[in-house]
């Protein structure tokens, strides 16, 4: 008889892939208790970490693709274990061994070839803005607007980018987009384990930014925000990054933007994981919403640090989740329970996921999904 | 000699004991395996009684009370109705089969029902075999 664990080679591979945080874990199980998946099925992060500690992770199992990177576990972990990094490391090994689920592989391939996960042509990246008053960013332009692949290509999420453009123009801001020169920020594929792809996308983007003299970036998506602010500095360069809700909050506080039209809606705000738990941005979107006349802002259960992930982060957007297991369905139910007319969002992935749920649940006539910026645009007198 | 189960029966004074009594006065023939203990109400039957019965050598435990709504003390049989199913779930974790503990509602007029319950339970416990707990 022999002990097959600890399986040193496997453990070393995980450490090399950046997952050495598992060394801190003392198996208390708070992560398993916190993980939102357990609202709809069983998923035990603690068990996966234990298997990692032994070097016994099953790369073929579905469980390694379960984590949505919402960070609820990390926030509550008494030892500060960066579980999302461990999940990422395990997935890196799976990607190297080509053990990636098919639908995710399609999105990754698309990102690698055309710079966006949707399989859309790179040449069409700036089409969303062609009828709008948007110029191309050149050296000397003050602000780079990074729309994110999703608003750029998806007609449903497009309003998130177009709303920001309207505000920027109303403010007379000096901004531009890079259009076909930009690629996906790669935040989700990095969490999904394709480190090489992320590095190549980052290099392409940074080259474009540097060549065009970009200093300040305004993002529409919290994922791009997180990537540029926290991950791109690993490549030695730092840009000033701001999310649209922060920009709006700044304008409103300075009195430069005054929403005046009464909207008369009961609005619940859904904290996106990347804005909230990753970057502690909870107040700015709420300040923005509160400044709109006629809006009654209500809190959802599980809000702010406890916010319930929509289920779209870390590549999960491209993996099939059966109807009974959708966290976004629960979020819609919560919004309906607090009597909201509008569920306000700040992330394109949340937008897609929650909209899917809204439609499949048949609640499109009682609840609306609106981006925070979109609501502000509705409230400014033209 | 064939195995004859020892079944302890907790019968409530007002309905089920009277029902058992009726079976007797009506000269009904039924299995002799139940040892009757009269309690004032099925709600008096604590899970500890059931455990003790098994510990002391019983192969099965029968609890009889008034039909829901007819309890002489109003709520007592509802307590039994909740305790016994939960106890049975726990006993299954102890490897004690479901048929060894049985809760039935028997009214004072249901002598025949009491007899048929005893016959049925005796047959089922006989099939299961002796309890013989390992302690």
């Amino acid at each position: 008889m022999k002990a097959v664990a600890p399986f040193k080679e496997a453990i070393d591979t995980v450490i090399e892939a950046g997952g050495d945080a598992f060394k801190l874990c003392y198996q208390c199980g708070v992560c398993s208790g916190s993980c939102p998946w357990n609202l709809v099925r069983t998923f035990l992060p603690r068990k996966l970490i234990r298997e990692t500690q032994f070097g016994l992770v099953d790369l073929e199992s579905d469980e390694i693709w379960r984590c949505v990177g919402c960070r609820t576990c990390v926030q509550r972990c008494p030892r500060g274990v960066e579980l999302v990094d461990i999940m990422r490391a395990i997935r890196r090994i799976a990607v190297e061994w080509r053990a990636v689920p098919a639908s995710l592989r399609t999105a990754m391939t698309s990102m690698g070839t055309v710079g966006n996960p949707w399989g859309e042509a790179r040449e069409k990246r700036a089409d969303w803005a062609k009828d709008l008053d948007v110029k191309t960013f050149t050296k000397g332009t003050e602000l780079l607007l990074f729309p994110c692949c999703t608003p750029a290509y998806d007609p449903r999420a497009r309003v998130m980018a177009t709303s920001v453009v309207k505000i920027l123009n109303a403010m007379g801001a000096d901004f531009g987009i890079l259009g076909v020169e930009e690629s996906c920020c790669g935040e989700s594929v990095r969490k999904a384990g394709d480190e090489a792809l992320f590095q190549s996308l980052a290099r392409d983007n940074i080259t474009a930014f540097v060549e065009n003299g970009v200093k300040k970036i305004l993002t529409v998506s919290p994922h791009c925000y997180n990537s540029f602010k926290k991950e791109y500095p690993e490549f030695g360069l730092e840009f000033e990054v701001i999310h649209s809700t922060q920009y709006l909050a700044e304008l409103i506080e300075q009195g430069r933007l005054k929403p005046t039209k009464e909207l008369n809606k009961r609005v619940a705000y859904h904290d996106s994981c990347c804005l909230g738990r990753y970057n502690d941005i909870y107040d700015e979107p709420r300040e923005v919403l509160k400044s709109i006349p006629g809006i009654e802002l209500v809190e959802l259960p599980d809000s702010r640090e406890e916010s319930l992930c929509c289920g779209g982060c870390a590549g999960r957007l491209w993996l099939e989740t059966p109807k009974e297991e959708r966290l976004s369905d629960i979020r819609i139910e919560q919004a309906l329970e607090v009597g909201a007319d509008v569920l306000a969002l700040s992330c394109p992935y949340c937008f897609l996921n929650l909209e899917d749920s809204l439609l499949t649940m048949g609640k499109g006539d009682v609840l609306e999904l609106k981006d925070v910026t979109q609501l502000v645009v509705e409230a400014i007198q033209e | 000699m064939a195995f004859e189960p020892k079944i302890v029966g907790f019968l409530c004074n007002w309905c089920s004991y009277a029902g058992a009594d009726l079976a007797g006065t009506s000269r009904m023939k039924y299995a002799p395996n139940v040892r009757v203990i009269r309690v004032m109400c099925s709600g008096r039957v604590e899970p500890a009684f059931v455990l003790k019965a098994f510990k002391e050598g019983a192969d099965g435990v029968l609890i009889c009370g008034c039909h829901p709504g007819d309890c002489h003390y109003m709520e007592g049989n509802y307590k039994a109705a909740r305790r016994i199913p939960l106890l049975k779930k726990m006993l299954s974790q102890f490897g004690i089969e479901d048929e060894r503990v049985r809760l039935e509602w028997v009214s004072a007029a249901e002598g025949d029902r009491f007899a048929s319950i005893v016959n049925d339970m005796t047959k089922k416990v006989k099939e299961l075999g002796p309890f013989r707990n390992q302690s």
Binding site: M1, V4, A5 | A48, L51, R82, L86
Partner: protein, 321 residues
């Protein structure tokens, strides 16, 4: 007064009780002044043969923590019993079986199968198990016999005092140290805790015990002022001896029952089951079935610490007479 002779032994337990003794901090010096410790495997270098060489009754007090689940532990229990004037069952494992006694839902063979064959960290396709005697070139090696059933200390040797708790709280340990110092030990058979239930000690507001749903501890964040049982959490307070300082309650967590049954109660689990079913106010069969579903693991919840001293003691092993 001559120094007392004190022995401490660690049997089938986690070691927390030894840590609890050290938790008395600087008062350990008072203990050292009061007594000579003649056996303490975790801290001092005395061996079994030192104890064997003592005359009977030479040890004044033996603090025994841990349950008994193999022949070595039973042997040492009998040895220390012979050499000690007073045996103290220290901690829930020694008093009631404790967490190790949850192994009574399996037997020795199943435990070995899990540990040596099924565990994912082992490769034991040849199914090699530890043996009580193994011959090697140098002679014969012995291992203790592994019992099917985990026992409390008093099920192996007579015990004078019981200190419940997982581990016993520091203030109760100090109470015993004090009693030893002043020679004012309680009558034999005493449990060094309260004679009442935890509910008596608990400061929370208790209104009406009437629930219609049971929550698992991770499902809600309870109100820190109200009775936890009334909020639908399974708090073992009504069926648990008090005296622990309501430590868990103060941390807003329901009692797990580590102080064992209150005075006068033999089977803690049965009492709690009865109490829970009494206060869950539903009447029809469907609602009752839903209630039963909500108690996910009745045996593990109600007998978490008390399997050895419970009425059934262990899961039935069918087919063994």
């Amino acid at each position: 007064m001559a120094k007392l002779k004190l022995a401490l032994y660690w049997s089938a337990s986690c070691g927390g009780c030894d840590v609890a003794v050290l938790d008395i901090n600087e008062k350990i010096l008072d203990v050292a002044a009061l007594a000579d410790i003649v056996l303490w495997p975790i801290a001092l270098d005395f061996k079994y043969h030192h104890v064997e060489a003592m005359p009977d009754g030479a040890i004044d007090v033996c603090l025994w923590n841990g349950a008994v689940r193999n022949s070595e532990q039973e042997g040492i229990a009998k040895l220390l019993r012979a050499k000690s004037n007073a045996m103290v069952a220290f901690g829930s494992c020694a008093c009631f079986g404790g967490i190790p006694a949850l192994a009574n839902f399996n037997n020795g063979a199943q435990a070995f199968e899990r540990a040596y064959v099924e565990a994912p960290t082992n490769d034991n396709s040849e199914k090699v198990f530890p043996q009580t005697k193994t011959g090697v070139a140098e002679g014969e090696l012995e291992l203790p016999e592994f019992y099917d059933t985990v026992l409390a200390l008093e099920q192996v040797v007579p015990v004078e005092y019981f200190m419940p708790g997982c581990p016993p709280p520091v203030d109760l340990i100090l109470k015993v140290v004090d009693a030893l110092a002043t020679g004012q030990l309680p009558p034999p058979g005493a449990v060094i805790a309260s004679e009442k239930t935890l509910c008596d000690e608990c400061d929370r507001v208790k209104e009406e015990k009437k629930i219609s749903k049971i929550y698992r501890p991770h499902e809600i964040i309870p109100d820190p002022e109200r009775c936890l049982l009334e909020q639908g959490l399974i708090c073992m307070g009504p069926a648990t001896r008090g005296g622990c300082g309501q430590r868990c309650i103060l941390a807003n967590m329901p009692c797990r029952g580590c102080f064992g049954p209150p005075a006068g109660v033999t089977d803690q689990g049965a009492k709690m089951l009865s109490a829970l079913a009494s206060i869950y106010e539903v009447k029809d069969d469907k609602e009752i079935a839903a209630m039963v579903e909500e108690v996910v693991d009745p045996a593990g919840t109600f007998y978490r610490f008390g399997m050895s001293t419970s009425m059934l003691r262990r899961k039935r092993i069918v087919g063994v007479s």
